[in-house]
Each structure stands twice: as C-alpha cells, then as structure tokens.
C-alpha cells in the first residue's frame, strides 16, 4: 500500500530525513518510534502532503502511484489520513460542519454524490458514540478551547468518519490521560480491518499496549535504525534509545 524509497526531506534547507525506506502492506499496523528530533513528525507531514517540507530525493508510492506531486487534499481523496499532533483551533466552524464539508469534499472528488443529511447525521452519531463523544461537543467550534484529550479524540472521530485506507497517528497519545488513551486506542482498533493500514508514531511505548503493532521501527537521525516486532518497543522502553 505505502512504499517509501530512499526518502530525503529538508525543511528550510536543513535535511531532516536522510534516506528512509519503509513498506506498509494492507492490514498491517506499524509503529514508528524515536527520540525527539529524529524526524517522526516530518515523516508524517510529508506523507500527508505538507508543502513546507521539501522532498529532495526518493519516492513515496501509495497504491503504486507516485504521490510526490499530489496536493494534501488529493492525498486525502486517495485515502491518506493524518491525525495531527497539534490539531489547529478554528473558531467559527463547528465540528459537525467541518466533518460534513470534509466528507462531501472527498465523496465529490471520488466522483460520488454528497451524503444525504439523515445518513450523515446517523453516521456522526454512531462514530461519536464509538469515541464516547458528547453530542454537545459536536456543535462547538473546531478544537477551540478543547482539552488535549478532546482534541485527540476529535482527530480519531474524524478518522472514523472519513474511513481512510492509511491512517497516520502522529503522537496521538501525547496529552492523553489513561482513560482517554483507552478510548482512543479502542476506537482505532475497531476501525482496523484487513484492507486498511495504520502507522502509529510515538515517543513512548504505552500506546502500543493498546494498539498492538505488527512491526516496530526505530527512527534515528533521519533513518530507520532498527526494525522488529512488538518486542522491540518493550526493549526500547526498558533500555532507552541510546541502546540502539
């Protein structure tokens, strides 16, 4: 599904990712771990299509299509979703109106009709329930005044609504208390199926107690320094990143 070959990425002329290779197949969950500044968030931003990051070398293929020249919205239309580490606060647009617009934009881009209002409402209710989101929360302005936990839950709610093929969770566990972590993780697990894939980007192991990865990669100095199964995450927790 996702194939990254010898990727080099620069921000403001400074190289952050220096020759990264990664392959994610459908049905898989990959965890990418690494110390601060190792390039984890840069990797997710580049896959999602943030134009502030410049790919200087290498390729990203998504379902065999080179996505280098695709805009962020075009990548979303193909089924790529990123849960933001720092979701942006947008006063003046409600959560509901935002998600409606997003869903219909994706449907239109894929050549489908807009979703009828009653169907939309039903889906919103269903997914809100999945993430234990209060309905009052949906009529609030997007992320404005949300707690850290509410923001992350709202990200996963959007993921549940949009049903992406590839979901990248960028530090979704940061700022979550243990209950919110459980809700978010169980939401992610319920959305998992044999046709989609998830990349979990995290600094700590604790999220991986709830979302069990098939593969764990350690990102260090812009490259994948070590790959393994879920036991690698446990070893890292015990021995720290210096051990690699």
């Amino acid at each position: 599904m996702l194939k990254i070959e010898n990727l080099h990425v620069s921000v403001d002329g400074k190289e952050i990712i220096k020759g990264l290779n990664l392959e994610v197949k459908k049905g898989e969950v990959h965890a990418i771990m690494g110390p601060n500044g190792s390039g984890k968030s840069t990797l997710s931003a580049v896959i999602a299509g943030n134009e502030d990051y410049e790919v200087t070398k290498g390729n990203i293929f998504f379902n065999d299509e080179n996505i280098e020249d695709l805009s962020a919205e075009e990548r979303a239309h193909r089924g790529i979703f990123m849960s933001f580490q720092y979701p942006v606060e947008i006063p003046g647009i409600t959560v509901t109106n935002f998600i409606k617009t997003a869903i219909n934009s994706n449907l239109k881009a894929r050549g489908n009709k807009e979703m009828p209002a009653n169907e939309m409402l039903k889906k919103i209710r269903e997914k809100a329930e999945l993430l234990e989101i209060d309905s009052r929360f949906l009529s609030r302005s997007l992320n404005e005044g949300f707690s850290g936990g509410e923001k992350k839950r709202n990200e996963i709610f959007q993921m549940a609504m949009l049903e992406p093929t590839l979901a990248i969770l960028d530090e979704t566990d940061s700022g979550l208390d243990i209950d919110a972590l459980r809700i978010v993780a169980s939401g992610v697990n319920k959305l998992k199926n044999k046709d989609n894939a998830t990349i979990v980007i995290t600094h700590y192991q604790r999220l991986l107690d709830h979302i069990i990865p098939d593969h764990v990669h350690v990102l260090q100095n812009g490259k994948i320094a070590k790959s393994g199964d879920k036991n690698l995450a446990l070893q890292l927790e015990e021995r720290g990143y210096d051990w690699i």
Binding site: S71, A72, E73, M82, N97, F98, K100, T101, A109, A117
Partner: protein, 450 residues
C-alpha cells in the same frame, strides 16, 4: 459651479418645495448657513485622511429627482428579510413607496418622517428630539439636516417591547444616475422599551430599468444618510445596517446614538459593497450602567472602499463599550477603521474594549486601522487591538489534509474569520441572510446548512 455652490443655491427652491412653516425650517436654514461656511472636507482634514471623498462629490449630482421609476417586486424581493412579519418602510430613490411598506400608529409610531414633521400633533416630540444629537461641525450631517425630508420615524412609548422588527429599506432604482439622496431617520425608544431595526441599502443595476440613452449624464449616485437615535432609560435597541450596494453607489452614513442610564444599544454594520462607503457611528453615554455594542463585518472586492469611524464618548461612570470590527479585503479594495474612545474625567470604572481584525486576501488590497483613545479618568479599563494578516497556513493545511480543496478551504476559513461577529445578532432570519450574503461574497458554497 462647484457642488457646494450648487447645493447652497438650490436650498431656496428646496425649502419652497418643502414647507416653510414646518418647525424644522429654522434648523434647516441654520444648517445650510453653517455648511456654506465650512464646505466639504478634503484629505488635509485628519477625519477624512484615508477616504478620498472628493472623488464622489461630482458637480453633476442633483437633489431633484427627474422621473419616477416603477420597479417589479421580483427584482427587489430578496432585499426584504422574508420569512417573518415586520414593519416596513421602503424608500425608492428617496421617495416613500407605500406598496411594500407596512407602517403603524397603533400604540407606537412607525412611519415616514415627512408625515411627522408636517403634523402639529408631533411638534412637541420633534422639538424635543429632532437634530439634538448632530455634530454641527460635520459637513455631511449639516447637508443632510438642510435637505432631508424623508426617512423613517420610529417612536416607541414607555414600557413597550416591539412585537416585530422594523425594516428600513433604501432602494436605488438605477434610473437616476446623478441623484444625491438625503434620507434621515429619527428613532426614539422611551423608558423600558425594546426594539430591533434593520436598515439596508440596495441598488438595482442601471440597465435593469431604463434604456442607456437616458444616461447621457452618467454620474454615480451618492446617498448621504443620517440617523438620530435616542435610547432612554432601561431601553434596549438592536440596530442592524446592511450596506450591499452596487460598485457605483456611494454612501455616507452619520449615525448618532444617545443612551440614557441602564440602556443597551447595539449597532451591527455589514458593509458588503459600494464605491465609497463612509460610516460615522457616534455613541454618547448619557448616564450610568450603559452598555454600547458596535460590531461590523466588511467584505470588499474590486476598487471598493469602506471607512468606519466610530466614536464612543464615555461621559459617565460604570459603563461599558464593546467594539469588534472584522474586514476582508480582496483585489484592490481598501478599508479604514478609526475607533475613537473618549473617556471624560468623571467616567470612572468604565470598561472599553476595541478590536479590529483584517484579512487581506487580494495582493493589492490595503487597510488603515487606528485606535484612538483619549482618556481623562484614572480608574478605567480600556483595551484595544488590531491585526492585519493573511489566512493561517497551518489551518489551511489542516483543512486540506481532510480532503477539502484549497479554494473551499480558504472560503471556509474566511467565513469562519467573520462568523463570530454574528453571534451577537439576535434575529435568526437576519443571521441566515447575512451568512448567505457572506458565502456568496466569498464565492464558495459552504457545503452545509447555514
């Protein structure tokens, strides 16, 4: 002949046509004398520094209407609020049109000003309230006082809460290209009353109504409007202005609001177009525990220009004022915000807030924004802030990453930027109408129900 000389010399003819015996004859005469003395302002005048008003003061302008232009209701039906019952005063090219109006004298007076000025029954009220708030050093106010004879008269006697909103609708038929209109409103809310008023300015395109050959003298119309509002003790007024005109029409609006103790007066100004639009909104706080609310949304494109000059005069202690103006400027449009807050020495414990945020969408658009605080009291809270900027890149990426195309994402963020000003609009049907105009102005379908 210059426009000034032309106007001064036409005063006599105008007064003969009006009514010399009217109680306001002397007021008019004094005003034209004063206008003759001071004339029109130029840009050396600080108050007019950023607005090239001379541009629209063409000597071809005339006070006298040539023809009556009949308009189909179909063409103007969107100018009405619709969906709710309301009192209505409709003026077409400055002349009252009873066909679409809905006035009343039952318990309250909601009617045209001319009928009141000519009726002895109202002489006492007119003497008490007419032209009492106007700044006699302001040229356009003087001009309006000299020549106005039509507009809305709204009088709400003690203790009455108006059962439905009032719409004052000015329609420019497009049939008279060089018309200079002088509409005038007098609004009196007595003790313990409540009212909502929506005043709007619209123009029809020229070719809608008359053939082009009638347009040999093509000078763009100018509306010089003045509104006096008296909000007595414990009264509550919500005033909404919609300026959604053609690119050729200019408006100068002087509004004077005098508030007595424990009263609330809000004024929302929605400026969506016109050649040059100048709003002078003046609040005078004439008592304690007064709340004054001034809000505005300006959305312009092409070469349009809008200037908001606000003045809140805190003359008494324990009062509040809240100003929030947002501007969205596309193409070569320009804007001005000048917010003056004057706090007298006796006006202790007041809280004055002022905020002006602007979004420059067009590469050649510009804004001049200036808070102007003159504070003579020492125990007050006055805050102000202004921003001029572009859409937030991080927010734009967030929307795009969810599959919302760039154009719509920008539209949505622009809409969101303006949206919170509407929170204080206490009339659902108006809120929806404004949201529709905004969506239309920004040029996006928002993809959800407003």
């Amino acid at each position: 002949m210059s426009l000034k000389d032309k106007l001064v010399s036409s005063f006599l003819a105008f007064e003969l046509d009006a009514d010399i015996s009217s109680p306001v004859h002397e007021i008019r005469s004094n005003s034209i004398k004063q206008f003759e003395k001071i004339g029109f302002p130029d840009r050396k005048n600080e108050y007019w520094k950023y607005t090239p008003i001379k541009k629209v003061l063409n000597e071809e302008l005339t006070l006298f209407k040539k023809n009556k232009h009949l308009i189909d209701f179909e063409k103007v039906k969107d100018f009405f609020l619709g969906g709710i019952e309301s009192y209505k005063i409709v003026l077409i090219d400055g002349v009252y049109d009873p066909r679409w109006s809905n006035t009343t004298h039952e318990g309250v007076d909601i009617c045209i000003l001319s009928s009141v000025l000519e009726n002895d029954k109202y002489a006492e009220l007119i003497t008490k309230y007419y032209n009492k708030l106007v700044d006699n050093s302001e040229s356009f106010s003087l001009l309006n006082t000299s020549f106005s004879k039509e507009g809305a008269y709204i009088h709400i006697p003690k203790g009455i809460e108006l059962d439905k909103p009032v719409e004052i609708i000015h329609i420019n038929s497009g049939g008279e290209s060089s018309l200079m209109l002088q509409p005038r409103n007098l609004i009196i809310l007595e003790k313990n009353t409540k009212a909502q008023i929506v005043e709007s300015h619209y123009s029809l395109a020229n070719d809608d109504n008359i053939s082009q050959d009638e347009f040999s003298d093509k000078t763009d119309p100018l509306t010089n409007t003045l509104t006096e509002i008296h909000v007595e003790e414990n009264a509550h007024l919500d005033y909404y202005k919609i300026q959604n005109d053609l690119e050729t029409t200019s408006i100068i609006d002087n509004t004077y609001i005098n508030q007595k103790k424990n009263s609330v007066a809000s004024c929302h100004t929605f400026s969506f177009g016109g050649n040059i639009v100048r709003n002078n909104l003046n609040y005078f706080q004439n008592g304690e525990n007064i709340n004054s609310i001034l809000k505005g949304i300006t959305i312009l494109g092409s070469n349009q220009h809008t200037d908001h000059h606000t003045l809140v005069h805190h003359a008494n202690p324990n009062c509040e004022s809240y100003q929030e103006y947002k501007g969205i400027y596309d193409e070569k449009s320009t804007g001005v915000f000048n917010g003056k807050v004057l706090v007298d020495k006796v006006a202790q414990k007041i809280n004055a807030f002022q905020q002006n945020n602007n979004l420059l969408v067009g590469d050649h658009s510009s804004v001049n924004t200036k808070p102007q605080l003159e504070i003579f009291a020492d125990d007050v809270k006055c805050s102000h802030g202004c921003t001029i900027g572009q859409l937030d890149k991080a927010a734009l990426f967030y929307l795009k990453a969810r599959g919302i195309p760039e154009k719509e994402a920008k539209g949505l963020l622009t809409y969101a930027f303006a949206n919170n000003v509407l929170e204080s609009v206490n009339m659902q049907v108006l809120k929806i109408k404004i949201k529709e105009i905004i969506a239309n102005k920004i040029g996006v379908s928002l993809g959800f129900e407003l």
